[in-house]
Symmetry: C2
Subunit: 363 residues, 2 copies
């Protein structure tokens, strides 16, 4: 993996990451494809929308269909027939959010599968092994996640364990074509986050993610962590703010030097009937759209907006048609892609602050 | 509407129907788009699959979102943004299959909506009014459907009522750009079917459909009705076998001079995880496809077969991913479209019997 910084505007960075499966431009939004596909859209639609990279999940894929099967098919790219970059999450967050009867020790995480209740044990080494067998272009270190609020002792313990696990992951890594990112922890405790970030920054990771955020804290607290992280993370490596998020939060985070983002919001909200637009969010089932002949968002170039009215989309949702989920997902993902295109262009033009202000004024 | 007979091979007919929204080639399979969309695929995918015309339903659309709303949008084509031909069913079959507390009199059908339980009354005139407001290229006469088995008195009563209703529909019709098809009835009773077909054939309908079939009778019985209908229906008008069906039944019906077909089988079975292939049907959830790297059907040119393995499709179904429904629907519809393309080419080449025999040998 190669990361090139192309432009800087304040702390906002414009760059490009090159992988074995092609490149992507940063700041980038990464559509979520947990189970080896994005929900409710085809790969072809994803490409039309402008997706340059997708995120799959080692936890889900190890449980089903199993990394052995995927490896037999030559890895995740071939199994799912996606030829652009893939990033896999390590499973740390899913152990925290999905698994049952979880027992975490220094050795690793023992838990019950959320699918069939079977006992699973994942160590930092095992997570790397799974991810290398999946063969994603970017893989993540296994970490221990805690919620918010979280007392400082607990946050410190999880941070130190994640630090130890990151080192073990680095030692376990064998594939050169799978770039390993570390995940910083410490919750919103500045001293813990600093200790973790500084320690990881000294180790030869290919990139750095900020973990343990978007778990209930105020955005202002996240923002402080971003400022601190921007100062401590190596300039020449990509920074990935995991699980974020709302357009305004992405704009804030880009302003604080973050390069990569993923979130289920555009796809999940789409399936729940909520569209993102420059003029605010639209709940499409609302009666007021019943006779609305306008597209979801005036000026949007997505397939849904080029062809269909809010009235038709509302009809599809009210009538429980799958097509509604697909069209709404296409729109929301395209909304995020256009946001990122705007962000990248504005950074290169040295006008990011204006772009951000303009966007926030409209929405 | 213009119908041109281009080729004849035995009783099998090759033709072309021209409408205000473009033409379609016969024999044609019409994908079902009951609620103003095909289930689980976009219009763009439908076109890629080769769909030339779709079937929507007056019953469903009158109940939701209402034909007034669709008329406000300039009709169904504009409302749903589909620029190719549309046919609407009259609602007769849905009154029989979906409605509750149904009371049928000579005047019309009173029933409770299957959606919200509200009382609805549809007369033959009202059905035409709904369909003209929707503005489909081909509309159907309102009819009374009976099941199978059905005693002869009941079948005769429903047939004579449908005959009367067809005449009232013809009288009620006002739009020249909406072509009206009659629907023959009489179940599998040859004399009733003959009486009905002869009577309708004397009236100036734009085409003729065979109704009240595929409701539980043996195919051999249907086949006798087809032979009888082929002899009695005017040669210069299209013949539409409603709700059929299996590929082998379509082949039989083409052999008996039928031109148009619709059925939920390819789309519904797709969503239930069943694929049609030249070598038989595949239940994709079956364990035996877990490590199967082959496409659903070797040689198929659909998006699913060009890009994905049975193993990946099985994974999508087992993991409950909507993408699985979409890919399977694309394949099944494309399977039907390729079948019809093969049928049409073989009729023009005077080799339909060989084509049919070859197809049946393989499957």
């Amino acid at each position: 993996m190669k990361f090139e910084l192309i432009a800087q505007d304040g702390r906002a960075r414009g760059g490009r990451v090159e992988t074995e499966h092609g490149s992507f431009d940063t700041p980038v939004f990464i559509p979520v494809g947990t189970q080896a596909c994005a929900k409710a859209v085809t790969h072809k639609q994803l490409k039309e929308i402008g997706a340059q990279i997708i995120l799959a999940n080692a936890y889900h894929l190890a449980l089903r269909p199993g990394e052995d099967l995927i490896a037999e098919f030559g890895g995740l790219h071939r199994f799912m027939s996606w030829d652009r970059p893939i990033i896999t999450d390590s499973g740390g967050y899913q152990v925290f959010s999905l698994a049952q009867m979880t027992k975490i020790s220094d050795e690793g995480a023992a838990f019950q599968s959320h699918i069939d209740g079977s006992r699973v044990f994942i160590t930092p080494e095992r997570s790397i092994e799974i991810q290398e067998r999946l063969g994603a272009d970017i893989i993540m270190a296994f970490d221990e996640c805690v919620g918010y609020p979280c007392d400082k002792d607990r946050a410190a313990g999880a941070m130190r364990r994640s630090l130890d696990w990151a080192g073990r992951g680095l030692a376990a890594k064998t594939r050169k074509d799978c770039s390993l990112f570390a995940i910083t922890h410490g919750g919103v405790h500045a001293d813990l986050r600093k200790e973790c970030t500084e320690s990881l920054a000294r180790m030869p990771f290919d990139g750095y993610a900020l973990g343990g955020l978007s778990v209930g804290e105020e955005w202002e607290q996240t923002s402080e962590v971003l400022a601190l992280s921007n100062d401590l993370l190596p300039r020449e490596k990509p920074r990935y703010l995991m699980g974020v998020g709302l357009p305004q939060n992405i704009l804030d985070a880009v302003e604080q030097g973050m390069d990569m983002f993923d979130c289920v919001l555009p796809t999940r909200n789409a399936r729940n009937g909520e569209a993102f637009t420059r003029n605010g969010r639209i709940k499409i089932r609302n009666e007021k759209y019943k006779r609305d002949g306008a597209p979801l968002e005036e000026g949007c170039d997505c397939y849904a907006c080029r062809n269909f009215s809010r009235a038709y989309l509302r009809h599809l949702f009210v009538a429980d048609e799958i097509l509604g989920l697909t069209l709404m997902t296409q729109h929301n993902l395209r909304f995020y892609m256009r946001l990122m295109e705007g962000i990248r262009a504005s950074i290169r033009a040295g006008r990011f602050a204006e772009f951000k202000a303009g966007f926030l004024r409209e929405t």
